[in-house]
Amino acid sequence: MANVEYRSVGKSFGSVQVLEKLSLDIADGEFVVLLGSSGCGKSTLLRMTAGLETISSGEIVIDGKVVNGVHPRDRNIAMVFQNYALYPTMKVRENIAFSLEVAGKSKDEIEAQVAEAARVLNLTEYLDRKPSELSGGQRQRVAMGRAMVRNAKVFLFDEPLSNLDAKLRAHMRVEIRQLHDRLKATTVYVTHDQIEAMTMADKIVLMQGGGIVQVGTPDDLYDRPATRYVAEFIGSPQINCQDGEIVSNGGEALFVNGELKLPLPASYAAHQGRQVTCGIRPSDVALSDTGPIVGTLQIAEKTGADKQMHLDVNGSEFVAVAPRHTQGVPGDTLRFAVAPDNIHLFDHASGIRIAA
């Protein structure tokens, strides 16, 4: 087990800068998720950690040792690829045993380790099958088994669940997290799916355009998003954003956008006149006859557990999560209230969070 440290790491392909002076510390045994939309550089960072991409500038340190020039096989890492990358001509048993064989382990030892990995991953009855005879979820588990037996210092996952269906994905999320808790290995996990990040991570690293936007626990990112981008990326359904300004009125602060007037915590009064973006999570609002958010219902989506009301508020779309039995047909006017503490304010120009 080991810690991983990125020191001003940069990567460019020709003249295209993919990562810019990125610094990050990953503690021993931590489960870190690199989250971001496609093209943000998260997979490149993972591949650089594995040694599959060269490092253009800066240093990557694994377990106290700079690994910039170290071959992937000497980095003592294990990696699970998005497409699994199993060896198609080998049986499951041989797939899992390959790294042990290469390392020159004895036959008995290999057999014992393969059997143990297969037991943990429920693969025992499939050991003599070829990958082509397995389902997607089973292949995924073989890929994990292959990583497991390596007893690596660092586990790297490159969007391992994106090829699975929703139900299996939810199941594998739990399995991967349980595996981590059992092995206590330092894990770097790349995904574009914020639900995976929220459910699995000890720490989320949200990336955008080759840099880090925010690092923190899932709660940090959800409750105190550093920028409007983070707020919009985390949470489903997406946060509602309205542009407007802060108006202070005798010690009280209000967010004002046309007809919409929302009371803010009093400390915002100091920002009188500032152009801001106001973010309200759909789950933070509640139906209220006197609520300040007045909208015309466009459509009500049933999700089973609740109802997502798509409203037209002030000419822009606003989604509110309401109890499942809430009545309403398109065209109805609904009112919602929100607690001042649950309103996120970002500077209109820079998108950076304005602290209360």
Partner: protein, 294 residues
């Protein structure tokens, strides 16, 4: 599935069978010539279906009596050609198999490197490989003759095998490269992380995946070598001769021995057919199936 009317289906079958017959008929007619007696070959109109079969042509070219059929072996053979063809078939088999083996082995290593390794000018290299086939073979036949003369490679198996392998290499490299390109790089990378060296990855993981491709390439190389005429003609004298070259000796000043030529052609198809049959079981597509989720 698409619904088709009966007439469409019938029409499709008719067109398919007509195409098959178009390709099969010359082969069939050639085979009938091999089993026809001299006079019958020249009958006009040609006897396509009804003739009295004989194995005399085969007996003559192999210089043996098969012990059936009619007539006795002719005492005096027409023309000055070499009528003992069994050794010539053997020459063809040795040259075709060894040159195919050489070409496919070199091409496999070269195309793996071209597919996977980064070196400057890689893309130019690929087109440069093919450029060697843009020159008409006859333009290089004479220079090679002189080079071989200096190296004492004229009239040797080694000489012909080398030149056939070289002629096949460009196509084999390009073909094999496309098979390697089809294999996702993640498989190599996964092997790398598993601790394997580049060569071990090639030998244990990648090579078994391109078996089918190698078999297909081998078939093409074999057929080229089996039917190649020009280089064998210029680079050999009496030591060895392959079937295509020796077939030409049936055209003599006193006439063309069509029956013998057809018999040799028919006999020569057998080894090629057997070779293709042997490698055919490896010509299975979809070997990478299941390795990655597409």
């Amino acid at each position: 599935m698409m619904v088709q009317s009966k007439s469409t289906r019938v029409l499709r079958s008719v067109v398919a069978w007509a195409t098959v017959l178009l390709f099969a008929f010359p082969l069939y007619y050639w085979l009938t010539v091999a089993f026809k007696d001299g006079k019958e070959i020249f009958n006009y109109p040609p006897q396509v279906w009804s003739f009295s079969p004989t194995v005399r042509n085969f007996e003559e070219i192999f210089g043996i009596s098969l012990g059936f059929g009619f007539g006795e072996q002719r005492e005096v053979l027409p023309g000055g050609g070499n009528w003992r063809m069994a050794p010539r078939l053997w020459d063809s088999i040795v040259i075709a198999i060894l040159s195919t083996g050489l070409a496919v082995s070199i091409a496999t290593l070269a195309s793996y490197a071209l597919s996977r390794m980064n070196f400057s000018g890689r893309h130019h290299f690929v087109s440069w490989v093919l450029s060697t086939r843009m020159m008409p073979p006859v333009a290089v036949a004479i220079p090679i003759f002189f080079i071989y003369n200096e190296l004492s490679l004229l009239d040797t198996y080694t000489g012909v095998i080398l030149v056939h392998a070289l002629m096949n290499l460009p196509l084999a490299v390009l073909l094999m490269k496309s098979f390697f390109d089809d294999i996702p790089r993640e498989i190599d990378e996964s092997g790398m992380i598993d601790g394997a060296s580049r060569f071990l990855i090639f030998r244990r993981i990648i090579l078994p995946m391109v078996k089918g491709g190698a078999a297909a390439t081998a078939v093409l190389c074999f057929i080229f070598s089996w039917t190649e005429f020009l280089f064998v003609l210029t680079l050999t004298q009496t030591g060895l001769k392959t079937v295509p070259v020796v077939s030409s000796t049936f055209v003599t000043s006193t006439g063309t021995a069509w029956g013998n030529m057809a018999a040799l052609g028919a006999a020569a198809m057998l080894p090629a057919f057997l070779f293709i049959l042997l490698v055919q079981k490896h010509l299975v597509r979809g070997l990478t199936l299941g390795s990655v989720k597409q």
